[in-house]
């Protein structure tokens, strides 16, 4: 065996894994979600409380989350209330942030909002612009991925994927990643959850907050159990997407950031050694 063939065998083939549709929509979404998150927190700051039901309880109690500032004997503190339980969140910058001599009393600190100061009007303009772009990109992705087989091949978990979950969990726990031609069981479950549950959910709950859309489709208010519940679900979905983002980045770094990034930029991905080559692969 020559050195060259040994090299090839230890590397696995270079496969064209991500289509242009997947790559372009991926990066547009990345930009959209960045702006949607930071302007969303700006919008939340205008009324930093979440409720269950049609309306916001000012004279009755139906809030599930409140972020604010309170006065204590030791001076003002940031406080977050979840289901009636109070937490001091000054250290996290929730409710109160900024330098000790010039504290800022917003729910989320200016470091994570666009603009960095209170400007609901600008937050909404930017939020809705990227909301439209996000939804348009979703249409492109679903159409292209349905036609080119990305959804069937990589996204929808099959029975054999479900059966493979325990082994995949064990592999991930020991940081043994298989770089195959298609996605692994946990990858499929994660992306299926994002594309088929979280993305539609965040769009529909967003639309349910629009009084115009409420007139057009009042069933959406009922589907989510009221406008304020829709707003709460919108927020929770945001948290889940942030959690997905963190895991996504950790996995990219753990699985080999250069290979992963290259596949999302050029489409070419270095598969694990032992992956059978097919026509179209590069050595």
């Amino acid at each position: 065996m020559s050195d060259e063939t040994a090299m090839t065998a230890s590397k696995g083939p270079l496969i064209y894994r991500q289509s242009i549709w997947t790559r372009v929509t991926h990066w547009i979404w990345a930009i959209c979600l960045f702006f949607l998150l930071l302007t969303g927190l700006q919008i939340f700051n205008a009324h930093p409380a979440l409720y269950i039901g049609q309306q916001s309880g000012f004279e009755f109690e139906n809030s599930v989350l409140e972020i604010g500032a309170i006065n204590t004997d030791a001076g003002p503190r940031g406080q977050t209330t979840v289901f009636g339980q109070n937490f001091d969140t000054t250290g996290l910058g929730l409710g109160m942030s900024g330098a000790a001599e010039r504290p800022v009393y917003t729910a989320f600190p200016g470091a994570v909002t666009i603009p960095s100061y209170r400007d609901l009007g600008t937050g909404r303009v930017v939020h809705f612009f990227f909301g439209w772009l996000f939804v348009a990109t979703m249409f492109v992705w679903f159409l292209a991925s349905f036609i080119n087989g990305h959804i069937r091949r990589d996204i929808v978990p099959m029975p054999k994927d479900i059966a493979g979950v325990p082994k995949d969990v064990a592999d991930h726990a020991t940081l043994r990643f298989k770089h195959g031609r298609t996605y692994g069981p946990l990858q499929k479950l994660a992306y299926f959850g994002v594309f088929f549950i979280l993305f539609p959910l965040i769009v529909l709950t967003g639309l349910t907050m629009s009084p115009g859309m409420n007139a057009f489709a009042p069933w959406m208010i009922d589907l989510f159990g009221g406008r304020q519940t829709a707003r709460t679900i919108h927020f929770i979905t945001m948290l889940l997407l942030v959690a997905f983002f963190i895991i996504h980045i950790v996995m990219v770094v753990a699985a080999g950031p250069i290979n992963e990034l290259r596949s999302m930029i050029t489409g070419w991905y270095r598969a694990s050694p032992g992956t059978p080559s097919v026509e179209g692969d590069k050595p």
């Binding site: 009324h47 809705f128 439209w132 115009g212 009042p218």
Partner: protein, 262 residues
């Protein structure tokens, strides 16, 4: 490595990109608040898209949801101005709005005015609706008033009119160079909408000062800033540019979307 991206370069690059993202929220994107900026103006086109899409999708007469009386669980939360201090308003309030007049003028065949008693004696409509503030909260209340549409017909809206501008007694902002008065505007679809009522009653009581006495217009398929309180004049126009900063309303001038249905 054959490529240009070495691991060291990549890590350096990601560190720069990553810190850029983290710092981004600090102030890199504050320029989007500049309403004359190109990026801002491009992004504001999305509001026009929303307006166009919703007008195409939603029937002109389609009603906002009306709720059962059991859904009224609290008083209507007052927001914005709760007691204007303009001399005209203070005078009207002192005499319980006896000399109040609602005027419809501008691009109409004849300017008309109505006293509060005249408005109260017109066919009334009551609706229990959800008020959605742009800040994010909602409040359900019963609003009683008379529809704006028939009044506009009495004045005879000219075919060239495109918008109704709502002028208020509300000195929402006091500056060194004088008061800034609240105003907003809508298209004629919203003005003629069956639920667009000149309300004088709230939860079976006389509309209180904190909620806009003597008359507050309801535009139920839009957010709270499109429900002008302390209304005194409705002006039919073809162009919103001459009013305020030209964006169609007090809050709109500060950057809120004009349509307000989202």
């Amino acid at each position: 490595m054959s490529g240009l991206i070495t691991r060291r370069n990549f890590l350096r690059g990601s560190a720069v990109a990553g810190s850029g993202l983290i710092l981004a929220g600090c102030d890199q994107f504050d320029f989007l608040a500049d309403k004359s900026g190109v990026a801002r103006q491009v992004m504001e086109r999305a509001n026009v898209l929303t307006y166009t899409a919703q007008r195409a999708l939603i029937g002109e007469q389609t009603l906002a949801r009306e709720y059962a009386a059991s859904e009224i669980r609290q008083g209507q939360r007052p927001n914005g101005s709760v007691d204007p201090s303009t001399p005209e308003y203070t005078f009207l309030k002192m005499q319980d709005f006896a000399s109040y007049k609602l005027t419809i003028k501008g691009m109409v065949d004849r300017e008309v005015s109505f006293s509060l008693d005249e408005l109260r004696n017109m066919p009334a409509r009551s609706q229990i609706t959800r008020h959605d503030c742009v800040e994010g909260w909602s409040c359900i209340a019963k609003w009683t008033g008379t529809q704006l549409g028939p009044l506009l017909d009495m004045a005879g809206v000219k075919s060239t009119a495109r918008y109704a501008v709502y002028h208020c007694y509300d000195n929402i902002q006091r500056t060194l160079s004088g008061d800034i008065l609240y105003y907003t505007s809508s298209d004629l679809i919203d003005a003629y909408h069956p639920q667009s009522i000149l309300s004088y009653g709230l939860n079976d009581q006389v509309l209180p000062v904190s909620n806009g006495a003597p008359i507050r217009l309801r535009i139920e398929r839009a957010l709270g800033y499109k429900q002008p309180k302390y209304l005194h004049t409705i002006e039919l126009v073809g162009d919103l540019a001459p009013f305020g900063k030209g964006r169609g309303g007090y809050w709109e001038d500060t950057g809120y979307d004009w349509y307000g249905g989202i």
